[in-house]
Amino acid sequence: MARYRIGPERGLTLRQREAIWGYLFVALPMFGFVVFAAGPLIASIILSFAQWDLLRDPQWVGFDNWNSLLTLTVQHLPQEIDETTGEPLFLCAREKVPQSRAREMEGQIDPRTGGVIDCAPRYVRERDMLPQGYRTALEFSLLNRRYVIGSRDPVFWEGLYNTSYMLLGIPISLAIALLLAIALNQKIRGKAIYRMLYYLPVILPVAATSLIWMWIYNPEFGILNYALNELGIPVTSKWLQDRHAVKPALMIMGIWGGLGYQMLIFLAGLQGVPTHLYEAAKIDGAGVWARFRFVTWPGLTPTTFFLLVTGMIGGFQVFAQPYIMTAGGPYTSSTTVVMVIWRNAFRDLQMGYASAQAWVLGAVIMLITLVNFLLAKRWVYLETEGARA
């Protein structure tokens, strides 16, 4: 009976002894939590109020980092005025001309280039309108007026713009993934093979797939331009070396790399849509489209939302692909936010300023994540319901 003895043993109850084991088992993760998560999190807030290059002692600068980062100014750009006549100035064929002359020139043939002359209002230069220390972050027109947004850190905002631009690939990707998932959800053969093929790019090292896509996008000998020309679409785009094509090019690669994951999640979502609803819709005479619109799609909205949110969280942190493929170029056209932060921190050693930048991005991501967690219950609920059905 001694072996079954329950109760005090060496002064501790069984319950207490169990608890000690519990604390021991979670000690390592708790230590990791303090040192690698909570500590750095607090440290990065403190750092964002300092200037520190890791060589000298950190300087406390108060809100300076935050001010340079976040202060924006919006200025109206007036049209330039001819000083002698007071007429507004236009730009025709790279020539500054008054309005009266512009009316004559518009639509004429340019003797130098042979093209039709196009006139546009000539605005005051942005840097003349922006306060000291500010540079152009964005220029836009609203209600026929020209505006400029100035920032003391235009590179960061451009990085944020580039990154957000590339997020547009997500809805496109989701639409394709949904189509594939619906196709895969039919009674067809070789499901496992298809699933595998589509999923493969998701788990492959970005370093390797980036090299492959660089070679695909190669303007002279790459397969893409060759294939497009063969299909009768004459393309001379230099893709990654073209500042207008580089973002779409990276988006296409991103879609290729994420499609399989989205498809599998959609497939799980589809299997969670109760079959009796389909039967009911069929009896009611609903066609293919109606069944999709009124049964499938409502059942998939939590899934779609989940994918949208996780896709955005990942998308905001894109780094390796543009870093390897374009180094952020041409100019700054494919520089992402994380690249801007990385450069400030590890190349220019501006640890404090980079921390403030990281927090701006982090706040955006955390907000999205929070919404995701709050709505995750709905998505998990559908999952388990489907398993039971």
Binding site: W21, G22, L28, F33, V206, F221
Partner: protein, 293 residues
Amino acid sequence: MSTLKSFPTASRSLTLGNRERELLIKLVSYLVLSIGAFTMLVPFFWMLSTSFKEPQGIFRMPPQWIPDPLTTENYVKIWEKTNLARGFVNSMVIAVVSTTGEIFTSTLAGYAFARIRFRGRNVIFALLLSTMMIPGVVTMIPGFILFKNLGWIDTWYPLIVPLLFGSSFAIFLCRQYFATLPEELADAGKVDGANQFQIYWSIFLPQAKPIIATLAVLGFIARWNDYLGPLIYVRSTDKFPIALMLTSLNTMYERQWTLLMAGAMVALLPIIILFVALQRYFIESIALTGIKG
């Protein structure tokens, strides 16, 4: 009949019967899936075919899909004349050590959260989970400063040590898994007077093979593919993991696409083999958690 009218019944206008319609849907599905699969595979074909070409073979127009002449010279060169093999071994060591540690600590903690009663258990668990919400970019800079002060720059420690303390994601999965196992399992051990570690080690851990396999696969792939981490912490070429080694070859052998594609193939191969062999665990883990590897 009123319910009929509430649906825009496109199918009514078609004269197809039910069976024909189903056949049509099937056909369209095959078509969509095949075109998609082909498009997904083209980059791999392109890589494979380039990697077996002679250096001047890539300038030929139209491009050859099956190289003629076919050569394995690129693979020999990338393996023997460059540091890629070194990177391969480095990545293996980093991935195996860090993932083993991650799994040991995470199963232990997951077991405690699921099966041991102690005060504050749920609070601690919630705290650990909350770290999943912190984007890596925020803790990246203080992490660097910490490891710099420890003198760990240009070592593998920053890539391995944090994982030895477990990861929230793995702990979460383990807890969920251990919570589903029947309580009677532990009774045998308790009767024998075994302590909690013995119960964990000899009774519960052997039951956890599926979740361990899933975590092993996901962990290995995450470490093998990691780019930003090594880029920040590892400086000397001979310590580069394979991802960094591959892109450093890109600057060294710029435009030598036959060689670079052979290199890419070498970097992909372990992952492809792992994936094909252990497919089941991937698909399960995704369906379970919705988190990619």
